[in-house]
């Protein structure tokens, strides 16, 4: 199992205000951000990314918009900095929200450029994006996935075509001369990743052989992984663990208490992420008809709820670190504890080749963050690499 360190570069000084207003996203005015403080935080977070290279971890970045939970607004910008500061780490975007990007050829150019800059270390996630990203991007949620797939096909063609230019006259995107310079080192394209939570996502990723990643979804990940494996078998190939990824909060300490304390602070990311004004959580067309029928039938409610291993419902906004551990959202404790928990999880899931390691939630101090990264990188990650 490979381990990828991940941080959203939170602006936690605004969280109290966001929680008070019931939304950390979209409608929290940016007067709640002090740019001088943001300057310090960005440099601190980038230092934490750079440390990963020294301790043998790979790196993942994502992006969100109009939010106090994540100051990374552009995957290629963040990775451009990190690519220069690292030598060995593989660099994963998870991802480029391509259904919200008006210009897929620009995405292809940026990804190819990053692959060249990093010496072929790029892994390229192409994602649908969260529902509350629809409003900041003002992209149409209806037929979102149709737009996603057209962008996906165009990006991969643009990156892998060497005898262009070619033209593209599709439903959503129109170009007459696509010819991406520079072209990527990894041919035909850097490895492609997707995210998902449903069995449908597992099937769609398997049909293309992409890596499928899922975020913090505990037991619901298993059916998706199983569908991936089944679809691959039906198509004549065997999907190994390297096709499956799972994101979890990890807190490691010299003692169990220290590891749990760190995990508890990082888990504030999980607690704050769902705090969004309700009208932005489910734009029409984003979720399936069946899912929306279920939501209407249930009446007013709709918060991120997952089940723990005993089938109890856990509300992500309020969960304790122990409850998060029961839902496989958090792995925490000493290096031995954390290794054991991940090993058991890996067995339950049938083999997951990538751990996406949330190691920064905001309130975690720089000192704690660097110790967490170092302990995990030196004491846990090498043992995970031997697994599978």
């Amino acid at each position: 199992m490979r381990s990828w360190y991940f941080s959203e570069m939170a602006y936690h000084p605004a969280w109290q205000e966001g929680l008070k207003r019931g939304s950390l996203r979209v409608i929290l005015p940016n007067e709640n951000l002090d740019p001088a403080e943001a300057h310090k935080l960005l440099h601190r977070y980038l230092d934490e990314f750079a440390l990963c290279d020294e301790v043998g971890l790979d790196i993942m970045v994502n992006e969100h918009h109009s939010t106090a939970t994540c100051m990374t607004v552009s995957v290629p910008m963040a990775l451009a900095v990190i690519a220069r500061e690292t030598k060995r780490a593989r660099l994963l975007t998870l991802g480029n929200p391509i259904a919200n990007r008006p210009d897929p050829v620009r995405v292809a150019e940026e990804m190819a450029w990053l692959d060249v800059l990093s010496g072929g270390r790029l892994e390229m996630g192409l994602v649908k994006g969260a529902p509350y990203e629809i409003a900041p991007a003002n992209s149409n949620p209806a037929r979102l996935m149709r737009r996603y797939w057209e962008a996906h096909d165009l990006i991969l063609k643009a990156m892998s075509t060497t005898d262009g230019p070619f033209n593209w006259e599709g439903e959503y995107f129109h170009y007459r001369n696509v010819n991406v310079w520079p072209r990527p080192i990894q041919q035909p394209t850097p490895p492609v990743w997707m995210t998902g939570m449903s069995v449908d996502s597992g099937r769609l990723a398997a049909e293309r052989g992409h890596v499928i990643g899922t975020l913090l979804s505990g037991g619901t990940a298993k059916p998706m992984y199983d569908m991936y494996r089944q679809t691959a078998r039906e198509r004549g190939w065997e999907a190994g663990p390297d096709r499956m990824a799972y994101a979890a909060v990890v807190g490691v300490g010299h003692t169990r208490d220290e590891g749990l304390r760190r995990a508890d602070q990082i888990a504030d990311y999980v607690r704050t992420a769902p705090v969004v004004a309700e009208q932005f959580t489910n734009p029409p067309g984003y979720n399936s008809v069946a899912a929306n029928v279920a939501i209407l039938k249930a009446g007013p409610r709709a918060h991120r709820i997952v089940k723990d291993r005993q089938g109890n419902m856990i509300d992500h906004r309020k969960a304790s670190v122990q409850q998060f551990m029961d839902t496989d959202t958090v792995f925490a404790g000493t290096p031995d504890d954390v290794f054991d928990q991940i090993r058991d999880f890996n067995v339950r899931m049938g083999g997951v080749g990538h751990l996406l390691f949330f190691g920064q939630g905001g309130y975690l101090s720089h000192q704690d963050a660097t110790q967490n990264i170092t302990l995990f990188g030196r004491e846990v990650a090498p043992r995970l690499r031997e697994m599978n």
Binding site: N140, P141, Q279, P283, P284, G285, N292, V293, L296, K297
Partner: protein, 257 residues
């Protein structure tokens, strides 16, 4: 009575009731809600033909179909298929936008146009919101802006059968498809409203805060000879809040002109 009819590759689910002069009724973005008495009030005076828009009710939404232009051409084809003559065209809210898009194209089969709180045009500057952003406010706030008395519009979704819930969900998705960006309007439509050359009535609920009566005056000024009437104790959906007064105003207008 409801039936389905195939027009230009779309299977339309149509409500038909009443007798006399044909009236093509184009429903709001919230849906047709055929069990609401509003259609019966119109049917007491007209032969009402009310299609569920593509993607709403049981009407299909083919993959190739996706703009308000498509709906306008589809309903012009529907009017030909049904051989409507001397018909009245009525559209409310989103349906008013569709009716206006039809009217700037071809009104041969129609004698009167009634637009009730139509969406569809842009009047103010780039940072003015002519049309309340229904998708950026909580549902309760939408109800408060859209109804003179929001209690009249409340729906207990938990009590509806799954088939109706699925239709509501599909309708919401279709409305987003047609109207998300630019938001619920066609930036070019206002420039062509001068082509509407038949008697036109704009009906507005006094308490409409989705599109205010001031926005209605902008419509009125852009359509030659149009007149505007307010309906008391009604918001954005006067046909639902004051169904009898609504039907009376439509019939009165058609009778006078």
């Amino acid at each position: 009575m409801s039936r389905s009819i195939s027009v230009s590759g779309v299977t339309l689910d149509i409500e038909e009731r009443g007798a006399g002069r044909p009236l093509l009724f184009l429903h709001a973005g919230e849906g047709l809600q055929p069990r609401h008495p509003s259609l019966d009030h119109l049917a007491a005076r007209f032969r009402v033909i009310a299609p569920h828009h593509p993607g709403f009710g049981e009407s299909t939404l083919p993959d190739w179909f996706g703009t308000v232009d498509d709906i306008a051409y589809l309903y012009l084809d529907l009017a030909r298929t049904l051989d409507l003559q001397d018909a009245v065209l009525v559209g409310t809210d989103f349906g008013g936008w569709v009716a206006a898009e039809m009217a700037v194209r071809n009104m041969q089969r129609f004698t009167h146009l009634v637009l009730a709180a139509p969406l569809g045009i842009k009047l103010g500057g780039v940072t003015d919101r002519d049309i309340a952003d229904m998708h950026a406010i909580p549902r309760a706030e939408f109800m408060r802006l859209a109804w003179a008395d929001p209690r009249r519009g409340e729906i207990d979704y938990t009590a509806l059968p799954e088939s109706e819930l699925a239709a509501i969900v599909r309708g919401r998705e279709a409305l987003a498809l047609f109207g998300w960006k630019p938001y619920m309007h066609n930036p070019r439509l206002k420039r062509w409203l001068h082509r509407i050359d038949l008697p036109t009535l704009l009906l507005w609920g006094e308490h409409d805060r989705i599109v205010t009566p001031t926005y209605g005056e902008g419509w009125c000024a852009a359509i030659p000879g149009a007149r505007m009437e307010l309906i008391r104790d009604a918001g954005h959906f006067p046909h639902w809040e004051q169904p009898d007064a609504f039907a009376e105003r439509v019939a009165g207008f058609v009778g006078q002109h």
